[in-house]
């Protein structure tokens, strides 16, 4: 009988270990879906959730604090996303917090990022709706970047024409200065350049934001990109883009000076027309713009060839073919 009881003891230990392991697994999985522990609910309304799914993570200032519980379509432009958040976050999330849909790195799943607001609004309560900001997703951003690039190319050709006219001789210069239509077009061009460099700047900031996200260590895609060569490549491309934009900025500043000089009355105008060095300078500036834009183009090209973006650009091409 002794043998049987020791057998039963060992069997009991085995059964308990097995059951406990099963429960631990169930708990570990469940706690990731916030099925246990104290939670509260908040919601946010979006126009587009970019493929967010129920069960995706919710981050507050980068920390995973909950999951997406339910996504419901309210009408054709409004989607309500309900989130379950750990209760202890009640102490930190304020009513002016902003929810954005983002992706967990470039290849990761979608997440909701909650960023603290600037003010000192009261803390959220369960059931509150917080503000949302449909942040430009990677796709939209790349789209903007592409448009910016095309605009830059157009401008460069415009500027080239103008510069050629300037270089062609005094008569032309005179005509340029007298011809209001021409002058207007020049102004327009300069404004456009300003606009473009502004856009490029915003885009760069957004890219920077993404890159920061990528660097975020816990994100799987971040780790993926940090270990991979392609990640480094993307960084290099982005750095190049940044340089190009800085150059465009400088050029714009130069042009600004020119324009203000022109604006500043006849003295300046005389100075402009008589001083050949200035004309040379203008010419050099134009050349720089050309080079800058070219490099910008190359960088865009490089970005297109990067495997991560390849799919996106192909899609663009296909769409372009389909809609002539």
């Amino acid at each position: 009988m002794k043998k049987t009881s020791s057998e039963n003891l060992r069997l009991g230990v085995f059964v308990i270990i097995g059951t406990v392991l099963l429960l631990i697994a169930a708990y570990a999985i469940g706690s990731r879906q916030n099925m246990f522990g104290q939670t509260f609910k908040i919601s946010a309304v979006f126009k587009n959730v970019n493929g967010l799914q129920e069960g995706n993570n919710v981050r507050f200032s980068g920390i995973v604090v909950g999951t997406v519980n339910r996504i419901e379509m309210i009408n054709d432009t409004t989607i309500r996303v309900n989130m379950i958040i750990e209760e202890e976050m009640l102490k930190h999330i304020r009513k002016d917090a902003i929810a954005t849909v983002g992706s967990d790195g470039l290849v990761g799943s979608m997440i909701i990022n909650i960023t603290p607001g600037k003010g000192k609004a009261p803390l959220v309560k369960s059931g509150d709706e917080i503000r949302s900001y449909s942040r430009i997703a990677t796709e939209d951003m790349l789209n903007t970047l592409n448009v910016t690039n095309e605009n830059a190319a157009l401008l460069t050709s415009d500027l080239l024409k103008v510069t050629r006219s300037l270089v062609d001789g005094k008569g032309t210069l005179g005509r340029l200065l007298n011809d209001t239509a021409m002058a207007n077009s020049f102004w327009q061009t300069i404004e456009n350049i300003e606009q473009i460099s502004l856009e490029a700047n915003t885009t760069m900031q957004e890219i920077n934001g993404i890159v920061e996200n990528i660097n975020f260590e816990d994100s799987p895609a971040g780790i993926l990109l940090s270990d991979s060569i392609s990640g480094k490549k993307i960084k290099a491309v982005i750095t190049n883009l940044e340089t190009s934009v800085t150059e465009i900025n400088k050029i714009t500043a130069n042009l600004d000076t020119v324009v203000s000089q022109i604006k500043n009355g006849k003295g300046a105008l005389n100075y402009l027309t008589t001083d050949t060095t200035f004309v040379d300078k203008l010419d050099a500036t134009m050349r720089n713009i050309e080079q800058g834009t070219e490099r910008f183009n190359q960088n865009m090209e490089a970005l297109k060839h990067n495997f991560l973006f390849r799919g996106y650009f192909r899609k663009l091409e296909r769409e372009a073919e389909r809609s002539p």
Partner: protein, 260 residues
């Protein structure tokens, strides 16, 4: 006899086998519901079939975890995705490899063991002796064994899974300086109930089949010592085949329920 006739014959034998096995399973459920219940023998079989397979399952699981990680490591490094190792290993072990490898190991150990044991009991008239002693041998021998394997296999699978994951984490810890906490965090991140529940349900069926086929082959073993060998051998072969079929069906069914 022409080849096609032989194939027809083989298919017929197979179908008869399946039919007999179904009747056997039906008898199991019928006897299961009738009193008296052989609880002490059930515990003994749980110990014999479950606990005593633990070392085997543990060692196999550990090696499975090690090997799986070591083998996939270079490829994942090439793709720069070595940090996805816990997710990959976690999902593949919990969903498929853990239950399947454990079940196959148990088919080799338990199904053949039951086949040989019941076969030799049949041959040496021990089963008849039981019946004459007023104990229903089907209840005492078959019901307890099938029930024991059905209950024990999921436990063996979960322990095997845990040990396999530990083995994998050990490699990652050693080669990739990934802490155990991070490893298991990421592994559980990748897992959902849609992985754990179908795998556990599947394990019950695996256990049932291992016990059922082992008992069936042993209980109807042919006379003579050769019959015992045949019973043990065919028990393993038949069980392994059925395991794969059940696995296939299980994937389909869990696909319907969980939309994988």
């Amino acid at each position: 006899m022409s080849a096609s006739l032989q194939i027809v014959e083989k298919a017929k034998t197979f179908l008869i086998e399946i039919g007999d096995l179904s009747f056997f399973a039906g008898r199991f459920f019928k006897e299961l519901l009738k009193a008296p219940f052989e609880f002490k023998e059930l515990l003994r079989q749980c110990y014999q079939l479950g606990y005593r397979s633990l070392v085997l399952v543990g060692v196999t699981g550990f090696i499975l975890g090690l090997v799986l990680t070591l083998q996939t490591r270079p490829t994942l490094i090439e793709f720069g995705a070595v940090s996805w190792m816990p997710n990959m290993v976690g999902i593949s072990i919990v969903r498929e490899l853990g239950p399947m490898i454990t079940a196959l190991i148990c088919a080799g150990r338990i199904a053949s063991g039951i086949g040989a044991e019941l076969g030799s009991m049949r041959v040496t008239e021990q089963i008849d002796a039981m019946e004459v002693s007023g104990t229903n041998p089907f209840k005492y021998l078959v019901v307890t064994r099938i029930l024991a394997t059905t209950l024990m296999l999921p436990l063996l699978v979960i322990v095997g899974d845990a040990i396999a994951l530990y083995g994998s984490a050990l490699v990652e810890n050693f080669k990739g300086q990934v802490s155990f906490q991070l490893y298991f965090n990421r592994a559980f991140d990748a897992l959902g109930y849609s992985d754990l529940i179908p795998a556990t349900v599947k394990s019950f069926f695996f256990g049932f089949v291992i016990g059922l086929v082992g008992c069936y082959k042993g209980y109807y073993s042919k006379k003579g010592t050769a019959g015992v060998g045949v019973a043990a051998n065919t028990a393993v072969v038949f069980t392994s085949m059925l395991l794969f079929i059940i696995d296939f069906v299980a994937v389909f069914v869990s696909d319907i329920f969980y939309d994988l």
